[in-house]
Amino acid sequence: MKKSGKKLLGGLEYVGLLALIIAFWQIASNAGIINPLTLPSPATIVDTFLSLIKKGTLQQNLLISSRRVLSGYAIAAVSAVVLGVLMGLSKHFKKLTDLIVQILKPIPPISWIPLVILWFGIGEEGKIFLIFIGGFFTILVNVVDGIRRIDPKLVELSNAMVVPKLKYVFRVVIPYALPNIFTGLRVGLGQCWMCVVAAELVASSTGLGYMIMYARQFGQTDVVIVGMLMIGIIGKIMDSILMAVEKRVIRWK
């Protein structure tokens, strides 16, 4: 088989099941098996999607949510990587901070919402804080884990070569931990998306989460589903971008 043919088949395999589900869904909707109030048909959803884009609401909310995610995520990523490297390198620092991290880590970000509203009100800061919480611990745990997993043989090598500490950290330890760091960054990004929706569901007048909540109150199930799908699609795109970055950075694997 030709290369292009193989590629086509691969692509078909990738979207095939999704297409089949949508097809059945449409057929069942047309036949009246599915109640359009609880689950509108794919065609209706596409219509709604297009009209929301025409009105500009979808892009606007998407932009607002994305901005929040990226702000909170950036803070989480930078602080978790820095702290994680320190915790991974220093036994004392790890011991000092470990208990706090272990207790804070299992608290679901959503349960921070009441405190967040109390502390920050319903402004941007609170949402960004919540997103930060959502990403921070996941990234931190992965970074610490990656740093700790350093091959003792490379530690011994650096020792035998009398390599200075800073060089050892930046040229040996961090590159070695990069695959783990990237895993943390990717999972963390996903969690940040979950948190932005949670934050906007509860206390907001903008964003995709708000759009979903607002539509529910008016029984616009189609808008709810468009909002949900947008979150899924953007999450997938951001993950793919991060994966591409990872591939470029970790060229040696």
Binding site: L154, A160, M161, R171, P175, L178
Partner: protein, 248 residues
């Protein structure tokens, strides 16, 4: 009588744990500058432990090691180490791996040294290659270049060719002799391969096991280049062999 350059004096090493093991006990010997010493023994006889203590990368031991008049207290740039595994940093290309131990010099100086040592081990065409693109023998050449780039006075090698196939191993041995001929450094080379020891060394330190002790030091004055199949070679080989299998 030549001067004593390296003095190992009553060195012992005990690993404390659930089972406390005395790896080596009261090891004493001396070496001259420029000498090539092979340490041979069965696995677990403490030959690697002895090498690590002499190289200064195992700080917990009794007794003293003196090199050139000063006591070994830790790792030093004047001592290069080659391990059994190449231990390359897989995110750096060949040049950067070789440059890794270089400190505090200009980029030009660094590049010059790196080029010199990469070509010394015959890898000039692979400077930009990543470790994953290298064969086992090539990777070990890089690790040798890395150990030499600081121009050490003493080179420590811990079964450096143990993981290579026979042909590669023989090539690497010849290469090592060529490099050593140029620099006349002192070499301490751990192996369990008697042939290898006889082919390379000026002196062969045979170790016994449980605990590791010096059993015998065989002086090897065969002229270079050595013929592995010559009578004289086999005679030295037999001498070492007998240390293991006849005296017991």
């Amino acid at each position: 009588m030549a001067e004593e350059y390296i003095v190992v004096n009553n060195v012992s090493r005990t690993f404390v744990g659930e089972n406390t093991v005395t790896a080596i006990q009261d090891v004493s010997f001396t070496m001259e500058q420029g000498e090539f010493l092979c340490i041979v023994g069965q696995s677990g006889c403490g030959k690697s432990t002895l090498l690590r203590i002499m190289a200064g990368i195992d700080p917990v031991h009794e007794g003293t090691v003196t090199i050139g008049g000063s006591e070994v207290k830790g790792p030093d740039k004047a001592r290069g180490v080659v391990f059994q595994e190449a231990r390359l940093l897989e995110w750096m290309n060949v040049s950067n791996n070789v440059a890794f131990p270089l400190q505090g010099m200009s980029r030009e100086e660094k590049n010059k040294l790196v080029d010199e040592y990469v070509s010394l081990v015959g890898l000039s065409d692979f400077k930009k290659a990543l470790p994953r693109e290298l064969s086992g023998g090539m990777a070990q050449r890089v690790s040798i270049a890395r150990a030499l780039v600081n121009r050490p006075q003493v080179l420590f090698m811990d079964e450096p060719f143990g993981a290579l196939d026979y042909m590669t191993k023989i090539n690497m041995q010849n290469e090592l002799l060529r490099i050593r001929e140029k620099s006349r450094m002192t070499v301490i080379f751990v192996t369990h391969d008697i042939d290898e020891a006889v082919y390379l060394s000026d002196k062969i330190l045979v170790m016994s096991k449980n605990p590791g002790k010096v059993k015998e030091i065989v002086v090897n004055t065969l002229p270079f280049p050595r013929d592995r199949n010559s009578e004289a070679f086999l005679e030295v080989r037999r001498q070492v062999y007998d240390c293991f299998f006849v005296q017991q």
